[in-house]
Every structure is written in structure tokens, then in C-alpha cells.
Amino acid sequence: MSHEAVLHGDAHGHDDHGHHEHHDTFLTKYVFSQDHKMIAKQFLITGMVWAVLGGLMSVLFRLQLGYPDSTFPFLEDLLGKWGKGGRITPEAYYALVTTHGTVLVFFVLTAGLSGTFANFLIPLQVGARDMASPFMNMLSYWFFFAASIVMLSSMFVETGPFSGGWTAYPPLSALGDASPGSKTGMDLWLVSMALFVVSSLLGGLNYIATILNMRTKGMSMTRLPLTIWALFFTAVLGVLSFPVLFSGFILLIFDRNFGTSFYLSDIFVNGVGALPNEGGSAILYQHLFWFLGHPEVYIILLPAMGMVSEILSINSRKPIFGYMAMIGSLFAIAILAFLVWAHHMFVTGLNPFLGSVFVLLTLLIAVPSAIKVFNWLTTLWRGNIRFTPAMLFAIGFVSLFISGGLTGIWLGNSALDIHLHDTYFVIAHFHIVMGVASMFGMFAGIYHWFPKMYGKQLNNTLGYIHFWVTIAGAYLIFWPMHYEGLAGMPRRYYDFSIWESFKQFGELNKFISLVSMIVFMVQLLFLFNFFYSIFKGRKLTKQNPWDATTLEWTAPINPGHGNWVGEIPEVHRWPYDYGKDGVDFIAQTTPVGADESQH
């Protein structure tokens, strides 16, 4: 509790003297900062670096998938022995696929998304000077940074980075003799992920504590913006499920290094012989992994949903439709997220009765998801829509969430999954619903809150180009993959040429690879816009550029550590009074008038 006391001391300091930035050195302001806004930017920019690396990896392995017969001399220059003769080797291909998955799921869409927006928005939107524990918050970033460094270093070891898929199923991940990537590369992967789990927990506890304890006067739970509700459930999911993943990793570390047999049994490795391990269960790991793995999908998706709800409402100039139903459906999704993990395991030989329970619970998630979609659509209905780049990405999110969500109904039904499992259909499904959709949520968030983060404006034209190319590209890349899946084409294949059943898609694969390169280039355009605008963007002149009701826009254009000069504003109403009684918007800080209508 001492941190809290320190913080309050700080806060009063603000009230008395205004700013205290002059106390900050470069190191405490930009590096070991305890200001939630700076930590948010650190998460964002580290996440962006990983997004570029992860995206580049996908471009490289798409090169192999699209042009399996061609050679590209630059690959040898770039990758050395991994690109021998200008062609990516299978080892390198699998390492790229694995790292792409790990990095995008955890480093970009978990740390980059939650880390950025939970840190940035929670104190600003609930009306707090900073997080409950700014120090823990700083640690959270630095654990993530350490995880990043270790993951990066795994790419430079002799035997290569881990290459057994981001899910890291043992025995493959446990046996260095079964795959070179499972040697040192896997040790580093596990260390990196362990550090990452610590980072997530430190962050998550902080987010929960801040939302529950540090709301400003008048900010009851049902006056919170939906972003905060979404980030709250995200944090709860993370705090309850990451430890389970951690335990799974600990057992894996034991199996790898200390001769235990948690996951290993009856194994004969070519070139080595029979292993002594008996009595373990390879499936146990999958339960532990997916007990996080499925909530993880919602850890990625919920923040995007929250921000999209907010942005749709603001730019429709209308209240979000069904505020309580939106919270209820978030809650339902969060609960169900813990009860569906085995739908990733329908074909592991799971007890059929258990499987049937998971089918029921899985398809049940479609109900709260449907509520959310229909509520978003109704929010647009008879609104007065402003197409800011953020709004475009929010609309894109809804479109992608529908497209990808519906194929979840196919895969969640075990009898169909038994046909489609681990095919390109699955790739199409989760990339659309979780990957691209959440990325759209993240873009929406960045475009929307960039002015608050940097006091500058992004270039709108570049934003529009970014959006239209990206949404068209995302559909062009992933939509046809459904058809590959319906042909039974398996995931994680380096080359399809020997397969009579799957080799008919050569032209299509070329096309997909080409589009993915273009889409990647356009993301660079966005990055350029982002960094250029930080330094050279037009200065923000309006304190509340989007005419929004929430608290962050009552803070100064470039808020210092402590966010508000003087008292923290008091809240008198919910955050969605748009178009009420013919008034465009009424800020949360405006007291309720005597003649105001009830809603």
C-alpha cells in the first residue's frame, strides 16, 4: 500500500504546483517511467516492432508457399544457411511459422493491445492519476521487454529458434532429438514465455485494482465506458488463466531438463532409441495450454470489442445500443471462455461425452457474440456517421468479426471439426476473427487516441488508404483459404507438391502471397504515418477532437504525470449521452439538468 500513499502524495503535489516534469531525467521519463501513459507508449512501440517482425516472417513463409519452385538469392543473403540456395529450408519455414504465431498472439495482440490501451485508457477514463501501482506497472513493461529480448535471441542460436508450432505440443517440444528447433531454441522460447506471463500478471493485477478502487467520484461501475469493462474482463481472464499456462510450461521444463515424465510416455526417437520415460500423458499439456489458450483468444478480442463499441458510438453520434447487454455479453463471453478449451482437442481421442459438453458450451458463445453484433448494427442505425479512420477500422472490425465468427460455428461443432480440424479452414477462421479483427480494433484505437497520446494528429488520407487496402487485402488473403480447407489442405505444410489431394491450389497460393506482400507494405505506410506524425504531425488544437463524452478528453492536450491539473473531475452521468434531447453530446462531467429526459 505504500505505493499508493506515494502516489497520493504525488497527486497532491500536482494540485499544489501543477507540473513536476522538471524533476524527471531522460531515464525516468522515457525509460524507467512510472507514468501509465509513457508505459502505454512503450508497450505500443515494442508491439509495433514485433508486429513488423512477425509480419515480415509471414511474408517470408508466404514466399515459400506461393513460389515453392522458385529461388530468391536475397533469401540466402538474409537468412544464411536457413535460406540455402535462395529457398527457405523446411527448418526455417517451421521456425518462421512458429515465431510468427507466438509473437503475433502474445507480443503484439496481448502485450501490444492490452498493454497499450489498458495502461493508457484505464486511469484516463476512470479518472485516476495513475495505476494502482505505477512501479508494478513499470515492472510489467520491463518483464515484457526482457521476454522480447530472449525471444529475439532465440533466433540467433545454432540450432535455430523453436519450430514446433506456437502451441508447443510435447513430445515434439520436449525432445531436442525429434526436432532441432526443440533444442536451445525451445529453452529460450520457454524462458521468454515465462517472463511474458509474469509481465501479464503484473499488468493484469494492476488493471483490476485500478478499475475497482481508483474510480473518480461519481464513476460508478455502470458509468464506465465499455472500453474499461472490456479491459477489466480481459485482465480477469489473463490473471486466472496465465498461471495455468505457466504451470504447463514448468512441467515441460522439467520434462526437458530434469528427466521427469509428465508428458512423455512410450517414445522411440529415430537415431536415439527408446526413451526411459513412461506413464506421462502428452494430452495433459494440451489441457493446460488451452486452458489459457482459449481465454487468450478473448484476451485478444475483448479489448478490441470494447474500443470498437466506444468508437462506433462516438462517431455515430448515438449512444451505444444496449449498454447493459453489452456488459452482460462481455461477462458471458468471459465465463464461457473458461469452459470451452477442449474444442481445440476434439480429435485427440477425448472422451466423446466430454466432447459433446464442449460442443454445447462452445456454440453457446455464439449467443453473446450475436448480441454484440446486433447491438453494434443498431448503434449505427439512424445515426449521423462520421467516417474518421478510427470509425472505418471499427466498422471493418464488425465485418471481420461476423465473417470469422460464423465459421466458428462450423469448427465448434465437433462432427464437422473432425473433418476441418487443422486445415486451412482453421487458419482462415482464426486469422479473420482473432488476428485481423483484433488488429483492426488496435488500429481503431490508435487512430482514435493518437491525439491524446501525442497531442498531434495523424494524416487522415494515409489512414483512409491504410484502411481500404487492408480490409480488401485481408479478405483477399483469408477468404479463399476457406476453400483450401474444404479440400482438406492441412496447416503447417512446407510444400504441397507431393500431394495429389492438395496440389491444385498453386495459382491461388501465389495470389495470396502477392496480396500479403502488398498488405504488408501498406502497414509500413501506417507506421510511417505514425512516427512522422509524432514529430511532424499537425498540432492538436481542440482538447476534445472527436466531441466525445469520456473523461480523457477533459485532461489537458498533453497531460503530465497525474493527468489532470487541479482536481480530478467528478462524473455525473454514463458515457453515452450522444444526441440526447437534441444535444450533440453531453460530457460525463456535466451535471444532470433538472429538465433533462430520463433514459
Binding site: Y169, L172, F268, E278, G349, I395, S399, G488
Partner: protein, 345 residues
């Protein structure tokens, strides 16, 4: 050189786009932010419908191009697979309707309700009736799908018919080993520490008499048209997966934990060659679980034949026991069979 040119062209395009974007910013300042914002709004509103129309045409066109390359054009090659296909069509119908309806609503609303200074926004925050409607209708639709799905699921994962033949399939990095129980109809015991790549790839216990007539094959496994087959799956090293796309089924092969699957082949390989019009058609077993660097080449072949052909093929097979102990093969060394039996005991 081409590399350099490509980079130069890309950079050039970047610069051009950036200059245009920058110029548009200046223009908006000159014209007045509000005016240019409204113009942009109109353009983006229009693009919403354009995107919807192009998207729907694209969905149709994609289907035209790719439908013939999927399994949807072929009859499922197993009796059970036909149920998967019919379930797939029902699910497609339900989700397809929702997909088109919601996407059309989304983009049409975006277009129709774009900013217009004359429009008065409706303060519409809540409607219990509407929310109940879109809770209950999806719930009913999903219940139907769950019921269909679970009936199939319990059939697929339930006990196979009594007359089913049994074949054991074992995955290894990177290939498949098949075992038939031989004349006695029962598999002999095995233990992984007995595995020896030269003469005992499955680690059979030769002391077990049931093991002595087991037949072991690699590359191709033979199944009988119209006869249900139960596959007992296992793995020697890491997790593999027996993916049978033509039969519409798959199941993991896990070291230490046997799993099973069953189905009834409907067409012989020859018949499928005619049905698909592809003279090279084979039923392929694809490994569908990431198993190492050779994952993509872990292919097995199933040949479905009719009963007579199957009997003829099996008659030519020798028990695996004799390849481990060639001296005990009665056909190789025409010794007294009673001696062999005595030695075995």
C-alpha cells in the same frame, strides 16, 4: 539489380502516396477543415457500398473459381462422411444467410446514415424486446446445429459395427506403419522398448503367440469396400494425426495413448479414379498434426479394394515374425512345421 529496382519502385510509390496525403492535408486547411471533412465523409460513405457490392461479387467469383477444387464436388468416400457433408451444407445455409444479411446491413447502414446536417439522431439506447429477439433466435438456430452435430459425433466416436475389420496405424517421424491382426484376428502385445528399426518397427513381443501372425506393412494400407474398418491409432515418437480428407475424418495418433476411429469405405480406389476423373487419384493419409521438419511429407496411402482382391493381397503377405526370424519361415526353409511350433513355445 531487380532487387534494387523493386525497392526503388516501392520507395517511389511510398513517396508519391505520402506527398498526395500531405497535399490533401494542406488543401483541407485551405478549404476549411469542416468542408473537407464532409467531402471525405461522402467519399468513404460511397466506398462502403462499393466495398459491399465488390465484396459480394468477389464471394461469388471466388466460389466460381475454387468450388471445383474442393471436396464439395465429390461424394464423400465413406458412409459416415456423407453425414459430415450434409451437416456441412446445413451449417453453410444457416451461417451463409446470417453472413449476407449482417454484412449488407452493416455496410448499407454505414452508407445510409453517413453524416447529414439535416438528420436528427435518434436517441435509442435500449430495447428489451429487440435484444430478446436476437438472443432467442440465434439460440434456437444453434440448438438445431448442436443436435445434428452431436448425433453425428456420437455415431463417429461410438462403437463400430460388429463386423468391422481392425487395422492398427502407427505414426513415426515421418511415415506410417500398418498392422493387421493376421489369421487369429487378434493383435499381439507390443512394448516400445523392443522397437528396432531393422526387424521390429513396432516393438512386438515375439513371445506372444498372437503377435506371431501379425502382418506389418508400410506405405500402403488395404481396406475393403463396404466393410466398416476400425483403426487403432498410435505413435512411436511425437503426436501425429491420421487425416483422411476423402473419408471426412481425422484423429490424432498419440504416443502412449491409443485412439480409435472407424468408417465404412464406399468406393474402391479404382471407382474414385473414375468418379473424380483423375487417373492419378489415391486416398492419401495426411499427417495433420505438426510433427517436425518432415511433417509436410508424411504421407500414407489407403487403397480400397473389394473383398476378393483384398483376400488375394492378404494371401501374399507373410507374418512380420518371419522377417524378424527368416529361419523360421516355413516357405523359405521347408522344415517340419511342428519344429517351428515347438521352437516358438
Amino acid at each position: 539489380m531487380t532487387m534494387f529496382l523493386t525497392i526503388a519502385v516501392v520507395v517511389l510509390i511510398f513517396v508519391v502516396i505520402f506527398q498526395i496525403a500531405k497535399a490533401s492535408e494542406y488543401v483541407s486547411v485551405l478549404k476549411g477543415e469542416e468542408v473537407s471533412r464532409k467531402q471525405n465523409n461522402k467519399i468513404n460513405g460511397l466506398l462502403m457500398v462499393v466495398f459491399l457490392v465488390l465484396g459480394l461479387v468477389g464471394v461469388w467469383y471466388c466460389n466460381e473459381l475454387l468450388y471445383d477444387k474442393t471436396l464439395l464436388v465429390q461424394d464423400a468416400a465413406s458412409v459416415e462422411g456423407a453425414r459430415v457433408d450434409s451437416m456441412l451444407w446445413v451449417t453453410l445455409a444457416v451461417t451463409g444467410i446470417v453472413f449476407i444479411a449482417t454484412q449488407v446491413i452493416l455496410f448499407v447502414f454505414a452508407y445510409k446514415y453517413q453524416e447529414d446536417t439535416n438528420r436528427k439522431v435518434v436517441f435509442f439506447a435500449h430495447s428489451t424486446k429487440l435484444e430478446l429477439i436476437w438472443t432467442v433466435i440465434p439460440a434456437i438456430a444453434l440448438t438445431v446445429l448442436v443436435v445434428i452435430g452431436l448425433r453425428n459425433w456420437f455415431l463417429f466416436t461410438g462403437e463400430p459395427p460388429k463386423n468391422a475389420m481392425v487395422v492398427e496405424v502407427t505414426g513415426k517421424q515421418f511415415g506410417w506403419i500398418y498392422r493387421y491382426p493376421g489369421k487369429d484376428g487378434s493383435f499381439g502385445k507390443k512394448y516400445y522398448k523392443n522397437i528396432d528399426n531393422a526387424s521390429n518397427t513396432l516393438g512386438l513381443l515375439w513371445d506372444d503367440e498372437l503377435a506371431q501372425d501379425d502382418i506389418v506393412m508400410e506405405q500402403t494400407v488395404y481396406l475393403i469396400k463396404g466393410k466398416p474398418v476400425k483403426l487403432i491409432l498410435g505413435s512411436r515418437d511425437v503426436i501425429h494425426d491420421v487425416g483422411l480428407s476423402h473419408f471426412r475424418l481425422k484423429m490424432d495418433a498419440v504416443p502412449g495413448i491409443p485412439t480409435t476411429m472407424w468408417f465404412t469405405p464406399k468406393y474402391t480406389t479404382k471407382e474414385m479414379k473414375e468418379l473424380t476423373g483423375n487417373p492419378n487419384f489415391v486416398y492419401e493419409i495426411s499427417c495433420d498434426q505438426m510433427c517436425g521438419n518432415g511433417h509436410y511429407s508424411m504421407k500414407g496411402v489407403i487403397e480400397v479394394v473389394d473383398q476378393e482382391e483384398f483376400d488375394a493381397i492378404m494371401a501374399k503377405q507373410k507374418p512380420y515374425y518371419y522377417s524378424a526370424f527368416p529361419e523360421k519361415d516355413p516357405s523359405a526353409a521347408p522344415a517340419d512345421t511342428t519344429v517351428v511350433a515347438a521352437v516358438v513355445k
